[in-house]
Amino acid sequence: MIPFVINIVYFLLSLALLLAFIRLTRGPSLPDRVVALELIASIVVGFVGVHAIDTGISSLLDVAIVIALTAFLAAIGFARFLERGTQE
């Protein structure tokens, strides 16, 4: 039962990744793209979790932690960059 469900979940997550990528390329302003990037990072965290179940390697959760951390730092950095750009 689990492998079948994992296939469905892979499909749904890939679809979500595709939609977020469309917004990343089309996004009319830079904050839209940053929001899309953060959603992509969140989806990739889910992907890594599902892959950990698929392969049975629980160490992959460390990768998920690191991806979540980098996504947060990237969002903060982009926001600082946006606000700093308006003052000059």
């Binding site: 302003s29 989806i43 889910g46």
Partner: protein
């Protein structure tokens, strides 16, 4: 039994993430898109991590999954707040159907001071403190 719980949690997580992606592509402007992506995306990641914890049923994995959930729960609102604030200040256009923008009139984006909007109203009972109070009472 464990298979059923894990399957439900994984499907719920993937469904929430797909909803977040649909929201980010369908909604009209930055704050509504952020409203869809941050909350539903974080919910989806948390459901997936709950599924992982149930699947492995191990203390170490449970601790790691719990750490990821707590981290997402802390950082997702902060990132959303910071990006929304930056996006508002650099003048990202709102949706044409927006009917209320209280900050536009009351917030000075140069000095970052906020008025309540009721300083001059006759209904205000207590007078607001003056910015530069006189030395004489």
């Amino acid at each position: 039994m464990t298979d059923i719980i894990v399957s439900i949690l994984l499907l719920a997580g993937a469904g929430f993430m797909l909803l977040a992606a649909v929201g980010i592509i369908r909604l009209p402007d930055l704050p509504t898109r952020m409203h869809a992506s941050t909350k539903a995306g974080a919910m989806g990641a948390m459901f997936t991590m709950a599924g992982v914890a149930f699947f492995f049923a191990d203390g170490v994995v449970l601790a790691r999954a719990f750490a990821i959930v707590v981290f997402i729960l802390i950082t997702s609102p902060i990132a959303a707040h910071v990006i929304g604030r930056a996006g508002y200040f650099i003048g990202t256009p709102l949706w044409s159907g927006t009917i209320k923008d209280e900050l536009r009139d009351n917030y000075d984006s140069q000095t970052h001071t906020l008025r309540s909007g009721y300083e001059d109203s006759p209904e205000s009972v207590t007078l607001p403190p003056k910015p530069n109070p006189d030395k004489n009472p």
